[in-house]
């Protein structure tokens, strides 16, 4: 018996919607919303600062959340968890603090062509400022990065390899453990975008041996505005702060400042304690349901959807033909129909899908496509969602004026 109930999600229960845009953001279960409410009802004060009980409670709630995140991804040390707004901010932190200070002219940065703009544009800025060289790795049509081919691109000048564990277009899960091994052979760092992986598969940062991992809370049932940067402690220690201001100093005079210990060095200003508490509750919720259910339901529904889609003429799926390689992400095109028209027709049937370039314009140019449509499934979806999606999909070309 599955350990979750659709009743957990007020929005899904109350609104007549087939929500298939989970790779963009997920819905939030009641336990997460209640945890945030309880934090503000019972513990709200400015954490890290006060010397009174309430502020201490707020600080504890925040640090408990950090502990929960650390355990969830099996970090070596809790100080390796930096709270940010989202994966984009985490990746910018790495680029601005590490990239701008440790990368030099002639150094090489390798970016997988399917990267989200957030793990691409910050590195292009670093290259522009430092004179480093950007090299694009071209993944195959399944979205896979071949560690051997990547190895051939690397040399002693390689400093950064930017790669998502799961692509937000293909849904393919990379062999990050092997890729890390190759990257470290050249003394480079791997900057892994975990925005689509951490919500969908167990991620163990020690096993993967990634140097940096970024992810967002809002894609894993937590509120918007809380995200995480994991980084190895020895790297974080040598990095300068990213943002300067309150909460991140030890001692400041008119001429000098010493900065706080990790992780506070990277958390300037008043933090998002309510968001961190929500993320903690979301992690507890996921742990309680368990990966067997989370992955099992998602895979089952993805399989049904892909099997049915394969039967529809003029519909083609981007990436692998195996559901196991999609992490619930099904990006597709319909011959002769623009994705914005496709999304509008789905919307008329209360089905939420994403249309556009999914923040991966260079990939779309590489594939020769202007834009695509994406349905993304998670565990709380059900067979009725998939059925509605397939029924609507079957009729789209006809609705747009093509013959049956």
């Amino acid at each position: 018996m599955d350990k979750f109930n659709i009743e957990d999600f007020t929005l899904l229960k109350q609104q007549n919607i087939h929500y298939l845009d989970n790779a963009a953001t997920t819905q939030k279960p009641n336990c997460v919303l209640e945890a945030v409410r309880e934090y503000y009802d019972k513990k709200n004060a400015n954490p890290m600062r006060g010397l009174y009980d309430l502020s201490i409670a707020a600080t504890e709630a925040y640090e408990d959340a950090r502990e929960a995140v650390s355990k969830f991804i099996n970090a070596r040390d809790v100080s390796e968890i930096i709270f940010t707004r989202n994966a984009t901010e985490s990746l910018n932190l790495v680029a601005y603090s590490y990239g701008m200070n440790f990368i030099n002219e002639g150094d090489e940065i390798i970016i997988n062509i399917s990267e989200h703009h957030s793990n691409m544009l910050p590195w292009r800025e670093v290259a522009k400022k430092t004179g480093a060289i950007i090299k694009y790795y071209e993944c195959d049509s399944d979205g896979r990065v071949d560690p051997d081919k990547l190895d051939e691109m690397m040399n002693e000048r390689t400093k950064i390899v930017a790669i998502a564990q799961v692509s937000n277009v293909f849904g393919y899960t990379q062999d990050i453990k092997e890729i890390s091994k190759r990257v470290h052979k050249y003394g480079a760092y791997i900057v892994c975008d975990g925005a689509q992986s951490v919500p969908h598969i167990p991620v163990d940062v020690q096993d993967l041996d990634v140097d940096f991992l970024a992810f967002s809370g809002h894609k894993m049932y937590a509120p918007m505005g809380i995200g995480v940067l994991y980084a190895k402690k020895e790297i974080l220690e040598k990095m300068p702060p990213f943002l300067y201001g309150g909460e991140m100093i030890e001692y400041v005079t008119k001429d000098s400042a010493t900065y706080a210990e990790l992780p506070h060095k990277f958390e300037a200003g008043t933090v998002n304690d309510g968001g961190a508490v929500g993320l903690h509750a979301a992690i507890d919720y996921m742990n309680n349901i368990g990966w067997d259910t989370l992955i099992g339901r998602e895979l089952h529904l993805t399989k049904i959807a892909m099997e049915e889609m394969a039967k529809i003429p003029n519909v083609s799926i981007i990436g692998s033909d195996k559901a196991e390689n999609h992490s619930g992400i099904i990006t597709f095109k319909i011959d002769g129909v623009h994705p914005h028209d496709i999304a509008a027709i789905f919307d008329s049937k209360n089905i939420a899908v994403r249309a556009g370039h999914h923040c991966t314009q260079p990939l779309h140019q590489h594939m020769g496509l202007m834009s695509t449509t994406r349905a993304s499934i998670t565990f709380y979806n059900n067979e009725a969602d998939i059925e509605a999606f397939i029924d609507c999909l079957k009729g789209i070309r006809e609705a747009m004026g093509y013959g049956k």
């Binding site: 129909v337 623009h338 994705p339 914005h340 028209d341 509008a344 027709i345 919307d347 008329s348 049937k349 209360n350 249309a355 556009g356 370039h357 202007m370 834009s371 609705a399 747009m400 004026g401 093509y402």
Partner: protein
């Protein structure tokens, strides 16, 4: 939420069988209109005679059904009319999208009036107005710089 009847026969017909989607050899005005976020892209070409009448027009490009059909229906309306009249119709069209229009004005838009409901789909408004904005900019250019006798003034 969109109404599915929005993709009605008129719209899909203009998208599938556009009347004006072709190059114009003797055009003297040309302008590209792009919606970068969704990739709608049209190149509008017009021939405006010395009296300021739009004597011929066509467009090429790529994009969603709404952007393409809207440009096609627009050309249906404005070809053969003085440029001032085209500007007046563009103004009516923009006001229709904003929901600020009389029934008589709506009738003047003929088939283009089927896009009235786009006002309920804010994300698609820019698709519907792309052709009209491009037209408006071409005519502004004609007013400011005069009408060239022959050939296209490349920018």
């Amino acid at each position: 939420m969109a109404n599915n009847t929005f993709y009605n026969e008129v719209l899909t017909y203009h998208n599938m069988n556009p009347i004006h989607k072709h190059d114009i050899d003797d055009a003297n005005f040309e302008l590209e209109g792009v919606n970068p976020s969704c990739g709608d892209d049209i190149i509008l070409k017009l021939k405006i005679d010395e009296q300021g009448k739009i004597v011929n027009g066509g467009y090429t490009g790529d994009g969603c059904a709404i952007s393409q059909a809207s440009a096609d229906m627009m050309l249906d309306l404005v070809i053969g009319k003085p440029k001032e009249e085209a500007i007046r119709l563009a103004d009516i069209f923009f006001r229709m999208i904003k929901g600020n229009i009389t029934d008589e004005e709506l009738d003047e838009l003929d088939e283009a009036s089927i896009l009235q409901d786009i006002s309920h789909m804010p994300a698609r408004v820019k698709c519907a107005v792309l052709g009209w904005h491009t037209l408006e900019n071409i005519i502004k250019d004609a007013d400011e710089n005069g009408i060239p006798k022959i050939g296209i003034e490349k920018k």
